[in-house]
Symmetry: C3
Subunit: 493 residues, 3 copies
């Protein structure tokens, strides 16, 4: 008996449609030609990137013509001026000129420097809309406008002062903020003035933009929109392959606070990815589990439209990555059900603090998704798991993972009880809970090690990473140190 063919006609049809669309190249607009006339020499690197991009080959109209699952253009209507040329310099940098505070006259064109998600929305409105429902889009305000986190930021990035023998932290300057937390969270861009520069083409005037450059996920753009598509779809190639690779996520997720890249690299999934990826197709849309890739990357589980080899959809694309996240495991200070709203600045715990849980672990329930929504999101996540794993494997994994959320939360509670006793006994000052040596040891426990232990459990990276690299060994050690500090300092008070 002959083995069954795993590539049926429907999958083939999608494949052919995608290939056909890229076989010929759409024309470049006259405006973009004019840009390229100078900029191909001035910035050959980014022009070469663009030339290798899909934007340089396919017009929006051709993109729209692709069949359902292979389609990358989600707009149903695209302005006539954009439909039939490639998506080049002018198409993006002159879009919606009146909405951008950095628009300036440049060789007869109204150009803006910073392209925003709302510009991209001309062709990709669904993705742009989804992204706005994402915690990441709100990463600027979620940090900057939370009084508690602002205290943490000040004791991390602030200027050390020594006055009368006391050490303190002054608020960080704007350049430091842009270099530190807001590098990833996104800066607030603003036009600070105009500048005349001598160029190869004579004197020209340009806007001066404070907070620039920046590609942070929650950047506040000069048209008021939030986010930066180039965080993941790096300019000017805007490659889906790049966005699907875990190194893209590593940019902001490599420290012990959210060590997902390190956990992934040490996991079986990461092992397969690193060893086998040379043979995978990271460009295919839709993305076929088993034939295009043999182990998930970050994108496969959290974002991508994934199909099986017969073309059946396993999971729909979503740029609201929350859609498959039942928990927010990044402890503040405990792991908790995911926030309801992507804007977390309104969250108040039972003690009135801007935290999703209280210090005793009680969740701020009104602001978090309920158990039904959690179940729905877990189901959504496991649809991708099922490409390779049976229900007993998946259930065993999730049972273990959710148990680790419970036990790490319990250990954080113990650590916090010790910390609260330290505050109560006057051995530390709770006004800023992050600026003393013992408070930092407590922060290490929940911010780094409880958290890393959870990520390790979530991604089955377990083992060595979750125990010795940044995990349970360090987590228990931080609590032991806290206890030792308390008992010794109490005795010596």
């Amino acid at each position: 008996m002959k083995r069954q063919l795993l590539f049926p006609a429907t999958a083939m049809a999608i494949l052919l449609a995608a290939t056909a669309a890229s076989a010929e190249t759409a024309p470049v607009s006259a405006a973009t030609e004019e840009c390229l006339g100078c900029h191909a020499t001035l910035h050959p690197g980014i022009v070469a990137d663009w030339e290798q991009s899909r934007h340089a080959r396919v017009s929006p109209a051709e993109g729209q013509a692709v069949q359902e699952a292979g389609r990358r253009v989600s707009a149903t209507e695209i302005p006539d001026g954009l439909r039939h040329t490639t998506v080049g310099c002018a198409e993006c940098h002159t879009a919606r000129g009146d909405r951008h505070a950095d628009t300036f006259e440049h060789n007869g064109y109204e150009i803006h420097v910073v392209v925003s998600p709302d510009d991209c929305a001309a062709c990709h409105p669904v993705e742009r809309g989804q992204y706005d429902g994402n915690l990441m889009a709100h990463a600027y305000a979620n940090l900057a406008d939370n009084p508690l986190y602002a205290m943490l930021e000040r004791t991390i990035s602030g200027a050390v002062t020594l006055q009368g023998g006391r050490m303190d932290f002054a608020p960080p300057d704007d350049l430091t903020r842009a270099d530190a937390c807001f590098h990833c969270h996104g800066t607030r861009l603003a036009v600070a003035g105009r500048q005349t520069r001598d160029t190869d083409f004579g004197e020209l005037q340009f806007p001066v933009i404070s907070g620039w450059p920046n590609n942070g996920v929650g950047r506040i753009n000069l048209d008021g929109s939030l986010g930066s598509c180039t965080s993941c779809h790096t300019r000017h190639r805007f490659s889906i392959a790049l966005a699907r690779k875990p190194e893209t996520c590593q940019q902001c997720h490599v420290g012990p606070d959210v060590p997902v890249y390190k956990v992934y690299a040490a996991s079986k999934h990461g092992n397969i990815y690193t060893a086998m990826k040379a043979d995978w197709d990271f460009e295919a849309v839709p993305w076929t589990a088993g034939t295009d890739f043999a182990a998930p990357t970050c994108a496969a589980c959290h974002v991508s439209l994934v199909v099986d080899p017969e073309g059946q959809i396993l999971n729909q694309r979503s740029h609201r990555m929350n859609d498959r996240l039942a928990w927010r495991q990044f402890g503040l200070i405990y792991a908790h059900a995911h926030p309801l709203s992507a804007d977390t600045t309104q969250i108040r715990n039972q003690d009135g603090l801007a935290l999703p849980t209280s210090f005793d672990g009680t969740p701020a329930e009104t602001f978090l998704i309920d158990a039904n929504e959690q179940a729905a999101r877990r189901r959504a996540m496991t649809r991708t798991c099922r490409a390779c794993h049976d229900p007993s494997w998946i259930d065993g994994h999730f049972q273990r993972y959710e148990n680790t959320l419970v036990t790490t939360n319990a250990a954080v509670r113990s650590a916090t009880q010790i910390m609260q006793r330290i505050w109560k006994d006057g051995l530390a000052d709770p006004v800023n809970p992050f600026d003393e040596s013992v408070e930092r040891r407590w922060s290490d426990a929940w911010l780094f090690y409880a958290n890393a232990t959870r990520f390790s459990a979530a991604m089955a990276g377990g083992g060595d990473y979750g125990v010795f690299a940044d995990g349970r060994y360090q987590f228990s050690q931080a609590i032991i140190d806290l206890d030792d500090w308390f008992r010794f300092r109490s005795a010596k008070k």
Copy 2:
């Protein structure tokens, strides 16, 4: 004068034989066809993995027919029912059904979920036998049944309790153990009951297996065998290429306790691997130094059958990785000659503790290999080195490495003398030597930093890794901290 040809006839013959064997595809068994009928749709990812595997192309009989050095099948006799079809679902998941506690009736077949090394032994008995002589195969009991290590595990993974102001650790629950140490060491699998699930094909009954999923190296299987071949030969592609790449070892060797992946990545060998591997052949059997690969991976030194370009064998394949290991450098608490038996639970040091050395560094000699065996293993290891290095290079390297074992042991001895004084003076309680702040600092010294320094020396990763990343800087710092703690606490007692 024309340069001598480096690919003589013998190497060519081996190459041709291997290629010929894979040119045609053996038939799939009727039973496996039936499995694929449903499972190709249910779990397309793992079926695609299998389809790309050698198991899906070559029958055991064809595998047996390959010439000596190119042969991957070590069995001399293979049951008739397996000889002439590919190695598919049914061949493994119905093998030795009566020996597996998880065997259940499934659409007319007696299936077991967990395939064990004893199942693989039908075709690979030599490898399976070698592996059992490996410390890894015994990783479950070597940890779980050692009372001292059990104390360490409890203070790493246990539940923090606070009673009457005293902190303690309750033993970890089973889910935590499976998520932590036993993720790599392997869980003890057990059938906990049966479960009926609604499936796409109606109601079906399945076994419920506690400790599942797990691919730990010392897993206790449902047929009583030890280990999991899929730790390294990841299911269901069972790729030799994957097992030969260092990212596979990274899964369990990335923390500072045994940071071999990090050391390798920072070493010259790792540098060459990362930069050049795209041009290497990771599938070739035998594996030819110089033409298939230009720098060793973990497997090349510890496991693989390596030949020179003339086909001469440099080192035989061995799945008893100990064969080339003179030392066990992972300090417990000192580096020492390798244990004689892969089962280390019987080791007792001169003080009666289940440790390969005493706290003063005296080795538990009766339980460790002698100097002759050490010399033989070092010679075995260096046979691979000689593919690229002359004796003066190799001798210089090993002299330096063994000196580092001596000096790191001496420094651990000093640290332990301070720790013993702390215990003697009543500043810490030696009953559990791992659960107090100062004891953990002592553990950092030998478990992480002495150890990382040694791995760095062993793999010539030296330099920055062994000094600043997780090495001598941190090692000396831990001892300085220990000394500071002792002197200050003594004075303040």
Copy 3:
């Protein structure tokens, strides 16, 4: 309108010339044939490396014939004996025999084991000369002959002693030094004697070389020259591709002292490199931004001859990597203008210490480059940036980076003021400023965390790496700990 062709004739000409040069293989010299006769069997790995090298295909005369920007051979005159054969074993290992202390008679040839930069200078004199002006070439003496750094080295690598209850560090033995700091800095090689070995070809005598093996960047060779080209151009392939990949730099730059590899990997440039490098050409000379590579590696910014797609030179090749470095950010103990001379042993700060700054941050100006030279070097660096970035992007980046130098220096100053108070109050002994617990915490601050924060800013790796991985969180924590230690110990004195 048709898009402008980005590969004009000049670029094509260079490309064709380079290709033509490698199409045929130059003859192997008779001497090298004789070497290969035995060594192809003895060390097949390194012979295979050489066979795949450009040295095994192209004669120096052919190399010289290549057009300007594609030329790799910088010598204008090459000795006749070397001109027309490939560059094989004998060409390097018999060169300048009378200058090498390890030269010995070997089957009728005068061979030396250790090939030095002065040997390579026969064909590559410009690169060899540039390299000597590099801090790296002087890495041995810059560490070994600086009394302050020698103290640091002793407390890192030295032997721990416990006498009368006091811990101290004896100087490290030579094997330890070679395994630790001098693995990267380079060892001082010396002929320690001669040794007779039984070989496959009978008894033969060889030199015994202390400090061998070593490929450190500042190795002191047996002809008195400094450095080792094989640090980056790994023997025996001497691949430009390997040298251009960041994993090569990782060997010595992976720890928190100079974590450039980790920062690069987490940066946008590193993200693009890792995800896209499979499509790049790492062999092309010159190296074309945009077409050969889409994001810079370490080499692209610091070393390589980079052109734009029209063949215009963006930056000249320089093996004096300092040429584009305005600052030395590696704090000793502050970031400061780059040293004037590559030999830093003569530097004295205003307090007479062998440091480029004083403890209060005052630079030792006489020994450092001035503001004009800094500006020139920054301009040189930014010529590569301009391949992809406009002036506002570049200026914004450098403004942020230099601000981070100022703020991290200010924080180090605060930490040092606390440390100086600790010394003044007799709570620690300043004779060796690195051998007490609190002194090490101070060292952590400037050596690891201030430094990592700066590298993160320099390479726009910012974000998570520079905050949480090894950055501002840990930097501020070290200073908080120092302050806590001081206040508590003062109170308890």
